[in-house]
């Protein structure tokens, strides 16, 4: 065993020396010989290794550290592991330094990662994920209390405020639109929109969207406590009424027709979302719904996560634009949360005393299903340990998904091409 450690140390030393002296020494050694001598071969091979291709720049190493950090967050704190682990691993894969021209990198035509990335580039994966989400989501709480749906609209102010902000600091309208959608707190929607409006920013936008979605339990509570007075946080809401099977089947159909008539550009997202929900609620296509919410969404999640991660190749990703996008993303989450909360308080003005809503559930309007609804539940419990808000918060939560998809469609109508 000792021997292996020795061998290993020597080897490591050798590699370290290479990093220090660079490839020039190696090149010099071999330049004098003819043919592909062993030294030649070693140089050539060395030039292929990730060590050589770092080129003294440490941007790739920074990104690898980010990828490892994402994985750490997912494993240690269980923050959105189904997204952060594929994305984190993707960041590693995308930032292994390589020689160009050998079909390795995600941006090289004909590489495997490039083929898998096609579904991201063309916005094909997001609708398939929405299909699975539709086949998972229970819209009952929304159907039983439709009024709460407009809280999901209110929180979309985050999208438009960020659009304004991004325009103000110099992004083009298309870029600003794509950046704004981060405030929709909805990964697939963000990818879909930025694939159409600003493909060159997609990596940054997707990473920002997913990072903040994972951080919802950290971002939202302080804002909630700031905006909603303790008394209002204690409001108890009436239990929702029962929802019949007929209503559940009619919901996806009506919602599909209505939202896509208003915003046809959102058709791929909303069409698939409600199609998935119809598969679930119709009661006669259970096997299709089951595949949609298991195999299909899992396969697409794996491919989407790993390629979105890999799209953060350091030379493309580490720009000041990305930094700005992260800043704007944080802003948009804050604005969206505040928008939802304030609108909920505003709504209470028009409602008689018995039907008052607990303004905390406004925060769930940002979507980030179901994390923000859970945060609402936790905050509610802190004020009154017997006040369960989860079911009520689900209504603005799922309507936030619909709202941001509609908003994405509107952005497309205004800005595409």
């Amino acid at each position: 065993m000792r021997k292996f450690v020795t061998v290993y140390s020597v080897l490591a030393l050798l590699f370290c020396l290479q990093i220090v002296f660079g490839t020039d020494v190696m090149a010099a050694v071999t330049e004098s010989t003819g043919g592909l001598s062993a030294a030649d071969g070693l140089t050539e091979l060395w030039n292929f290794t990730g060590f050589a291709n770092l080129h003294g720049s440490y941007s790739n190493l920074i990104m690898i550290a980010v990828g490892l950090f994402f994985i750490f967050l997912a494993v240690k704190y269980d923050y959105e592991p189904l997204l952060l682990i594929p994305i984190g691993t993707g960041i590693l894969l995308g930032n292994i330094p390589f020689s160009e021209g050998y079909k390795i990198g995600i941006y090289e035509q004909g590489s495997v990662l490039n083929y898998l990335y096609f579904g991201v580039e063309q916005g094909i994966y997001p609708p398939l994920i929405f299909l699975g989400i539709g086949a998972m989501t229970d819209f009952s709480s929304l159907i039983s209390n439709p009024k709460l749906m407009i809280l999901g609209a209110a929180a979309q102010i985050g999208i438009f405020a960020t659009f304004l902000g991004a325009s103000a600091i110099g992004f083009t309208p298309q870029e600003a639109g794509a950046i704004g959608i981060i405030g929709g707190a909805d990964g697939p929607t963000a990818i879909f929109l930025s694939s159409k409006l600003a493909p060159h920013l997609m990596g940054a936008i997707a990473i920002a969207a997913y990072s903040y979605m994972a951080l919802v339990p950290v971002i939202q509570p302080p804002i909630m406590r700031l905006i909603i007075p303790k008394k209002e946080r204690a409001i108890k809401m009436k239990p929702p009424r029962a929802v019949s099977k007929t209503e559940k089947i009619m919901f996806p159909l009506i919602a599909l027709l209505l939202t896509t008539f208003i915003s046809p550009s959102a058709l791929p997202l909303l069409g698939m979302l409600f199609f998935g929900n119809l598969l679930k609620e119709s009661g006669v296509t259970e096997r299709l719904a089951d595949t949609a919410r298991n195999s299909l969404i899992n396969i697409v999640t794996i491919l989407l996560g790993v390629t979105v991660g890999a799209s953060t190749q350091a030379n493309v990703f580490l720009t000041t634009d990305s930094l700005k996008i992260f800043g704007l993303g944080a802003l948009s989450f804050v604005v969206a949360t505040a928008g939802g909360l304030l609108f909920a308080r505003f709504l209470n003005v028009f409602v008689n005393k018995d039907n008052k809503i607990n303004p905390l559930i406004g925060a769930a309007g940002v979507s980030a299903v179901p994390d923000s609804a859970r945060v609402v539940q936790m905050e509610g419990l802190k004020t009154d340990p017997n006040n369960h808000l989860l079911m009520h918060a689900m209504a603005p939560n799922v309507s936030g998904v619909i709202g941001s998809a509609v908003a994405a469609g509107i952005m497309l109508s205004f800005l595409m091409k």
Binding site: M149, F251, I402
Partner: protein, 127 residues
């Protein structure tokens, strides 16, 4: 024309965009406030037609929320309990399933979980 920091079309998109999102969801709100009423009316009419002698109109849509809450909680508790046992069983199964050395053929890829001709498994042993 620059209004505040950005030009007017940016403001247009911002305000109009948000307004349209609002309208879209308000529309849905409106419809889903009316749909149950229509359904109730249809159901009641059917019941009336059926029992046209007595006209006993039962409002079957109006199960009180409290009743639902109680049922939901009971169900939830029951299922949670269910889940714990289940997940134990699954854990053990998973351990077995994933134990590659014994369960694998193509890189640990077997027909695990499927009926198998046991005698075939032992072929190499008997050779």
């Amino acid at each position: 024309m620059t209004l505040l920091f950005v030009d007017s079309s940016t403001w247009t998109i911002t305000l109009l965009g948000w307004a349209i999102v609002f309208c879209a969801l308000l529309f849905l709100v409106g419809i889903f406030l009316t749909v149950p009423k229509i359904l109730k009316w249809v159901t009641n009419r059917k019941i009336k037609v059926v029992e046209n002698g007595q006209e006993v109109v039962k409002d079957i849509n109006d199960i009180s929320g409290e009743t639902n809450a109680v049922i939901a909680t009971a169900l939830h508790l029951f299922l949670n309990e269910q889940h714990d046992d289940e997940s134990n069983v699954i854990t053990i199964k998973q351990v077995w399933k994933r134990y590659s050395p014994w369960s694998s053929k193509l890189y640990g890829m077997t027909n695990y979980g499927f009926p198998h001709n046991v005698s075939k498994q032992n072929r190499y042993a008997r050779k």
